[in-house]
Every structure is written in structure tokens, then in C-alpha cells.
């Protein structure tokens, strides 16, 4: 049994991807150039909500387990590394899209193949998480992202719309998983009290 069968991870990742999408669309429409502030502040707001949701929804249903700090630290290191790398790629993409002389080389490399680069990177990151966390549905998200971005390389649709599509698909799947989880694991009454008496 995985601790992420509850779909909460999907909902929050989906909202995170949506925030990227809205940020980029906002930049396209309003020339709001610091769009990356939105996904950057997102974790600070959403992580406490996620922790609280885990406490309210997941733990009362399937209990609580604390893994050793060694494995958790490894996963956290991978996560932080990937977040920093991802933000770096997006910032490089943003800077390269402006006509600064020093960024020309980068621009010539990234801009024509931007969708392919991001698609492959996102699929690779997704697969890495799927492998590390044992969550097969993350492979599906990776494939979806890759297919959409490869399609986007050939069709001229604003980049933000692809992110909105991916985000929405992940959120919907998250809610479906959450409903299934709640149905499969109804709240049990009295188990802990029973233990308190019997142990």
C-alpha cells in the first residue's frame, strides 16, 4: 500500500502545474515578466495545506508510518535538485526569449526545440519520481506530457495551454483517486481505543 494512493499528491502537483500554466499565460497576455514568482511561492502556501490534508484525510484512515530519515533525505535531495534544475531551465527559457546578446547562443539552442526539451525533461523527471516512489501513474503523466509537448512542437498553440491541460488531467485523476481512497478506507471508529484497553 502506498501513502500516495489518496490522490492528494496528484491534486497538489496538478495545481502546481496549473499555476505554471496560468503564470505563463499571464506573461503572454499582460507582459507580466516575473511570472515565475507564482510557482515559486506556491510550495510555501500549499505544503502546509497538503500536510493538513494528509492528517485529516489519510492518517485517520490508514494510519501513520515514519520512514527512516535516510530514504526520506535521499528523496528530498532528488526533489530539491529537480526543482532547482526545473526552475533553472524555465528561467533560462525566459531569459533566452529576450533579445540579449549573451543569451543568443542559448536562445538558438532552446527556442526552436523548447517544447521537445521541456517534454523530454518532464517525462524524465516524472519517470524518476515514478521509479523512486513506486507510483506507476507518474509514468503515465510523463508520457502524457511528452506526447502533448511533442505535439506542441508542431502545432502553434501557446505553451501555457499545454500546462493547463496537463494540470487539469492530473487534478481530475487526483480527485478520482481521492474518492476511491475514501470509499475504500472508511473512517474506523474505536480501533485505537480498543488497543488502548487491550495492550
Amino acid at each position: 500500500m502506498s501513502y500516495h494512493q489518496d490522490g492528494l499528491l496528484d491534486i497538489f502537483v496538478g495545481v502546481y502545474v496549473l499555476s505554471f500554466g496560468f503564470g505563463i499565460l499571464l506573461m503572454t497576455v499582460t507582459e507580466f515578466s516575473t511570472w515565475f514568482v507564482i510557482p515559486a511561492i506556491f510550495p510555501a502556501i500549499m505544503v502546509p495545506i497538503w500536510v493538513s490534508a494528509k492528517k485529516q484525510i489519510t492518517m485517520p484512515r490508514i494510519g501513520y508510518v515514519k520512514f527512516g530519515s535516510r530514504g526520506a533525505n535521499k528523496l528530498l535531495a532528488i526533489f530539491i535538485g529537480l526543482m532547482v534544475a526545473g526552475l533553472g531551465v524555465f528561467m533560462a527559457f525566459t531569459f533566452a526569449s529576450k533579445s540579449q546578446a549573451w543569451a543568443l547562443t542559448l536562445r538558438n539552442l532552446i527556442i526552436p526545440n523548447g517544447m521537445i526539451i521541456i517534454g523530454i525533461s518532464a517525462a524524465a523527471i516524472s519517470s524518476l519520481f515514478a521509479y523512486t516512489m513506486g507510483l506507476n501513474r507518474l509514468y503515465a503523466y510523463g508520457i502524457l506530457t511528452l506526447v502533448l509537448f511533442l505535439t506542441g512542437h508542431f502545432i502553434t498553440i501557446p505553451f501555457g495551454y499545454f500546462l493547463l491541460t496537463i494540470g487539469l488531467v492530473i487534478i481530475i485523476n487526483g480527485f478520482v483517486l481521492l474518492m476511491q481512497f475514501i470509499r475504500k478506507h472508511p473512517l474506523l471508529q474505536g480501533d485505537e481505543t480498543h488497543v488502548e484497553k487491550s495492550l
Binding site: 494510519g63 501513520y64 508510518v65 515514519k66 474506523l188 481505543t193 488497543v195 488502548e196 487491550s198 495492550l199
Partner: protein, 103 residues
């Protein structure tokens, strides 16, 4: 084949019982878990689980910490150092028994 059938006597029977083996295995791979988690993982009734936990606690293999979190009773379980080394020894002894069997 095991050179001496009495080698089987080295197997810790307290751990060898299937339900307790599952409990020990679950707790071995985590730092701690609560009662509800084990119950869901092992598909055991509360009474059965608490009975096995009591035996493991008596042997000094499992530490049971009872506390209140947000006014609700909560039972945290973890392997003691003795329990961890007993489980490792159990693993080695069982492996040895199988290694000694003819192929």
C-alpha cells in the same frame, strides 16, 4: 542438508510465527508505525494484532508508546534495538538453514 538438524533450534520461534513475522518485517523497514497502519497493512483484527504485539513487547522486541494526539489515543510502535538484532539474527539463521539444504 543442514549438517545438524538441531540448527533449526536456532530459529527464533517467537518471530517465526507468520503474524509476528509480518509485524516484525513491517516494523523493520520503518522507523515507527502506528497501530492503524499495521492493522491495514497486515489485514489483522485489532484483537489479534494487539495480542501478538503484547508478546513481542514482553520479549523486548517492540516498544509500544501510547500517547494522545489532538485528544485522540494514538499507539506508536517501533522495533527496539534488541528486536532489530533478533530479527537480523533470525534472517541469517533462516538463510543458513536454506543454504545448507541440497540443491
Amino acid at each position: 542438508m543442514s549438517k545438524n538438524p538441531s540448527d533449526l533450534k536456532t530459529i527464533d520461534r517467537l518471530i517465526h510465527e507468520p503474524s509476528r513475522l509480518m509485524i516484525m518485517t513491517q516494523l523493520y523497514v520503518v522507523e515507527s508505525a502506528d497501530f492503524l497502519f499495521l492493522q491495514h497493512q497486515l489485514q489483522m483484527t485489532p484483537g489479534n494484532l494487539s495480542s501478538h504485539l503484547s508478546k513481542l513487547e514482553t520479549a523486548g522486541y517492540v516498544e509500544i508508546v501510547k500517547e494522545f494526539i489532538e485528544r485522540k489515543p494514538h499507539t506508536a510502535l517501533k522495533l527496539t534495538r534488541k528486536g532489530r538484532s533478533a530479527f537480523k539474527e533470525y534472517q541469517q539463521n533462516l538463510k543458513q538453514v536454506f543454504n545448507d539444504l541440497p540443491k
